[in-house]
């Protein structure tokens, strides 16, 4: 039996489509034929991907249900305005009159952060540092060379990437190189050097899905927190299946208030 035939047999076995004799034969193959074990591991890997896909779809459904069941602060504020009516409007007018510096909080903060405890800047940085050290995702469409760099970075080997590419100017680095260098410098704890590469990617509109995530971490670690905010908010709001969406939400919860801009 070829690898493909073995795979088809085991896929049917996994789907519960074999009769008892065929099941017994599939189980014998799994016990005795090393090539069957290879086909089985391929099948399980694909099943793992399907499970991850299914879980993400389920998360999106759960998020929708949760938001419908637990209206956020935006709604409750609106309700209170209706209840309090003129007095609240007057208070708001006074506030605007005497506090022209007061800006509206971002949507994320209205929805998710309004009841959180005061921000701790060092916690925000610590979290960003930890997230920057996480293994990067492989990016679909990344060039083979870009994948090589990302593979190195996924093992924490940022120095060889910096050694290989560190001489490239941000404008001269291609997308894969710029992303690899941005992540490598972040992993090395040098956000200032990471920034120009990630900013270049952002400006080009290339690899935005992951590049903006790392750019937001670089801004936080470079003490430019307010530059990170819109990137994270956009990621959180518009990309429900982004692998770092939950982490973006965690970061935003720890952001300092925006009142004193």
């Amino acid at each position: 039996m070829s690898h493909d035939e073995l795979f088809d047999t085991l896929a049917a076995y996994r789907a519960g489509d074999l009769d008892p004799d065929e099941q017994a034969e599939a189980e014998r193959l799994l016990r005795e034929d090393p090539r069957a074990a290879e086909a089985w591991s391929e099948l399980l890997a694909i099943e793992s991907g399907l499970r991850a896909f299914g879980n993400r779809e389920l998360r999106t459904r759960l998020q929708t249900i949760h938001e419908a069941n637990h209206p956020t602060r935006v709604v409750s504020l609106v309700s209170r305005r209706w209840i309090l009516g003129v007095s609240l409007a007057a208070a708001l007018a006074l506030l605007l009159l005497f506090a022209p510096w007061q800006t509206r909080r971002s949507d994320f903060h209205l929805q998710h952060r309004a009841e959180s405890s005061p921000a701790q800047p060092h916690e925000l940085r610590e979290l960003a540092e930890a997230l920057a050290r996480q293994r990067p995702d492989y990016l679909d469409g990344t060039s083979p060379q870009g994948q090589t760099y990302l593979r190195q970075l996924s093992t924490g080997a940022y120095q060889p990437v910096i050694d290989a590419l560190g001489g490239r100017a941000p404008a001269a680095a291609n997308d894969a190189e710029a992303l690899a260098l941005g992540i490598a410098y972040l992993q090395a704890g040098d956000a200032t050097r990471a920034l120009p590469y990630l900013q270049a990617l952002h400006a080009r509109g290339s690899s935005r899905v992951m590049a903006d995530w790392y750019l937001s971490l670089a801004y936080i670690l470079d003490n430019q927190v307010e530059q990170a905010r819109p990137l994270l908010e956009n990621l959180y709001a518009s990309q429900p299946t982004h692998p770092r969406r939950q982490a973006a939400g965690q970061l935003l919860e720890r952001f300092p208030p925006k009142e004193f801009e």
């Binding site: 519960g16 489509d17 890997a45 793992s48 499970r51 896909f53 949760h66 492989y138 692998p243 919860e253």
Partner: protein, 194 residues
Amino acid sequence: MERLTDQELLDRLQASVEQQQNEALSFLDRHCYKPVERWILNNSGSRADARDTFQDGIIILFRKVREPSFQLTGSLQSYLTSICRKRWLKRLSSRKVIPVGEIFDQHQAGTIPEEEAWLEENERDNLLIRLIGQLKTECRSILLLTYYERMRTREIIKIMNISNEQVARNKRNKCMNSLREMIQQHPHMKENLR
């Protein structure tokens, strides 16, 4: 829909119709989320932690009750709460924070089987997710119903309006082969799957 019994909840969670599943998921979200959130807030967590943990808990519960071998032996709401507590304790222990009531809760949570592997994802899965997203909708559905929902072919033909089981098997094979071809064309994936 004010109140559902455990059996009604279970029937809906096990249903193949998404609307019925959503009714049960919504019921659990309305009745169990706040207690879980309070508990997590009292145990070194944030609201974001509560939302993530609760979502993980519901996914574990949803997957568990849809296993053919699942038998209802107690309250589904208590079961969900226990899963969430266990999940949060695990995350806390990775942060090395000792929560209030840890000994009691770990004892209680210890009765929950280990299904957390359902939630694990790795880099390969991230890329597979993108490739699966590129499949035709019908292909994606039949593969997900088979290998994620663990449905038998006789159930799938009803949901997908397919004429008979053999047609469904042929479709599934064709779709699986399309996905495998996409994987083979991706250099990094190919070496990771063999």
